[in-house]
Structure formats: C-alpha cells, structure tokens
Amino acid sequence: MCNILIVEDSPTMRQLISFAVKRIRGASAIEANDGVDALKKLLSNKIDLILSDINMPVMDGIKLISLVRGNPAYKDIPIIVITTEGAEEDRRRAFAVGANAFIPKPIQTQELIKLANKLLEKSAGSSL
C-alpha cells in the first residue's frame, strides 16, 4: 500500500492523474490544489511519492519541492514534476531544488505508471 500525493491546480489534470495513479498496484491518490494544500496533506498523511505541477497559485511547485527537501521528515520522498513542453527552465529549476524526474503534458498514463513504479521501488529499496 502506498499514498501518492498529486499537486495540481487544474481540476482536469488532477482528475486525469488521479485515474492513472489509481491504476498503480496498491496505490491511493491524495489530491492537493497547490503547494500550501500539499504541505497540509503531507502533515496528515504518510506520503510515498509526490507528483507535482510547477505553475500553481498560492505556492508553486518549485517552492513546494524546496520546502519538502528542506524538511528531514519528507526529504527522501521521491518527486516527479509534471511540466508542459518547452518548459526547460521549469524543469531545470525543479531538478535544482531536488525533483527526481519529470513527465511532460499531455500525460501518457503508461509512462507515468512506469516512472512512478520505478521511483517507488527505488525508495522502498533504499529505506530497507
């Protein structure tokens, strides 16, 4: 069993990613509208993986990632950023603050599932 936190301001994207996440064996999706909402969800749930958008109101993905990496309780949670095409600068900034991987929009469900599984396995292996 694992919990995957989806951080996305667009309800359409959030629902779509949530559908994909629910197809990962044993995974549950927890949704957040923005970075602040995500931090609240991190406090009240044990999160195994974060899927985050970059551009969001209130608190964007970059700020969220740097806060997560700066907190000893969350610093090892794998993070996948969801970026639009051509957003190389967003990607670069996300990796600079500690993102592990990125996935471009429009999301290919199989690609997302494969990547999430890979990171989940890796973090399960390293925490043993």
Binding site: P11, T12, Q15, L16, T84, E85, G86, K105, P106, T109
Partner: protein
C-alpha cells in the same frame, strides 16, 4: 625267415592301419574345424539378428520421441502465439482504459460547473492536456452581428485574434457548415497562422452551431491524431457546446435575477416610505 616275413607283414599292416588312423583323425579334425566355423557363423548370425531387432526397437523409439518433440514444438508455438495475443489484448484494453478515463474526465469536468468562465477554462485545459494543442482559440457566434468572437485563447492573446465573419475562410466555413476541418499536415504547422488553422471543431447543440474551436499548432511531442483524439473532438463539439451554452444562460439569468432583486428592493423601499 618265415617268421621275419610275418613280422614285416604285421608291421606293414600296422603302418597301414596307422596311416588310416591318421587320415581319419585328419578328416575328423577337418570336420571339427568346419563345425566350429559353422558354430561361429551361426553365433554371428544370431547376434546380428539380435542387434537388428534392437536397432529396430531403437529406431521405433526415436521416431516416437521425434513425434512427441514435434508435438511439443507445435504446442510451444501455439502457447507463444496465445501469449502474443494476450499481450496485444492487454495493450488494447490498457489503451481503451486510458481513452475511457480521458473521455470521462473531459465530460465530467465540462459539466462540473455553471460558471461561464470556468467552463471556458475547462475547455482550454482539455484541448491542452488531453489533445495536446499548443496554440488555439475558442470562438463563439455573436448572433446580432453574425460574427465569430474570440472568447478564450491559449498561447496567444485573445485580444490579438480578430473576429471572423460566418462563412469567411476555414473558421467561418466550419461555423456555417458545422463540419469539422482537419488539415492534411497537422504536425507541420510550427507557427500561428490565424487564417490557416490545422483543426477547426464546430461547437454544436444538435444542429445549432454556437461557436468554433480553432487550433493553429500542436505540442511537439504530438505526432498526429489517434482515435481518442477524434473521440475527444466529437465530445468537445457536443458537450463543450452545451456546457458553454447553459453556463452562459445561467450567468445571464443570475445577472437578471440580481437586477430584478434590486428593483424589487427599491420598490419595497418606496412603498414603505
């Protein structure tokens, strides 16, 4: 002398007898040898017969095993083919699942609000995230002027998009005829040409056309349209139209209600005085 003679005779007889005996022995030995030879030959024959019998048995067993092996090969090939079929089926089911999820999300989101600007935002999100368009405009028909007015755009300023007369150019024709337009080389368009969209989808409520979605460029990773894209275009044509139409009516009626309410309040105030 006579005695001597008889002795010679006896010796001669003995010699004769001895000679015969020798000959007889020789003959016996020869026969013996012949018989031995026969025995050896018979033994060889017997052994050969046994070997042949065994070889025959071995050959039969080999043939049987070969047959079994080829039937196992056959079965293996069958199972392999079945596996390939299952793998293909699995991929198809997976794709179908994704497609259904996309369609479900699109229609769910379109009908999740009655706020006009929210509905427009959902349409933009579907076209960006589910179809993979980079630059596009949503036009709605202004019934008073018979013009298509840009109401939302992605990748370009809505205000920079000129209005289009119904019947004029590709966009205007789609608005008049109600048939979707797909350009021959959808992936070749790299820059916005407002007069040459690559895709135009009419927004229709039954036969009543209320607007057009006009796409100019696609995201680079989008290699072309698949079945699901056409399904989404169909869904947008119908569901986006009803969602836009009903939210606009709702927003208008809300506005009217507020106006009426303030009139009523004003009247009440006057009558009280």
């Amino acid at each position: 002398m006579e005695k001597e003679n008889s002795n010679f005779k006896k010796a001669d007889e003995f010699l004769q007898m001895f000679k015969r005996g020798e000959e007889f022995t020789k003959a016996l030995l020869k026969d013996n040898e012949k018989l031995r030879y026969n025995i050896v030959q018979l033994e060889e024959q017997l052994q050969r017969a046994g070997n042949e019998e065994r070889i025959k048995l071995f050959e039969e067993r080999i043939a049987q095993l070969e047959q079994e092996l080829s039937s196992y090969h056959e079965r293996f090939r069958e199972v392999e083919a079945e596996n390939r079929d299952f793998a293909l089926k699995y991929l198809e089911v997976e794709e179908e699942n994704n497609n259904l999820a996309n369609l479900y999300v699109a229609s769910y989101q379109l009908h999740s609000t009655l706020d006009f600007s929210e509905v427009l935002r959902v349409v933009l999100e579907i076209v960006i995230n589910l179809i993979g368009a980079r630059e596009f405009t949503i036009f709605l028909i202004d019934e008073k002027t018979d013009n298509l007015l840009p109401v939302a755009a992605e990748g370009l300023e809505t205000s920079s998009v000129p209005r289009v007369r119904i019947g004029q150019g590709t966009i205007g024709t789609v608005a008049r005829e109600g048939e979707s337009f797909f350009s021959e080389n959808i992936t070749e368009a790299k820059e916005v040409n407002l007069n040459e969209p690559i895709v135009c989808i009419p927004l229709k409520i039954k036969d009543h056309i209320i607007g057009v979605i006009s796409i100019y460029t696609l995201l680079t990773q989008k290699a072309g349209f698949t079945n699901i894209d056409y399904e989404l275009f169909n869904l947008l044509a119908g569901h986006a139209a009803t969602a836009i139409y009903s939210s606009r009516l709702y927003t208008q009626s809300e506005r009217k209600l507020t106006t009426l309410q303030s009139f009523l309040d004003l009247l009440k105030e006057k009558t009280v005085r």
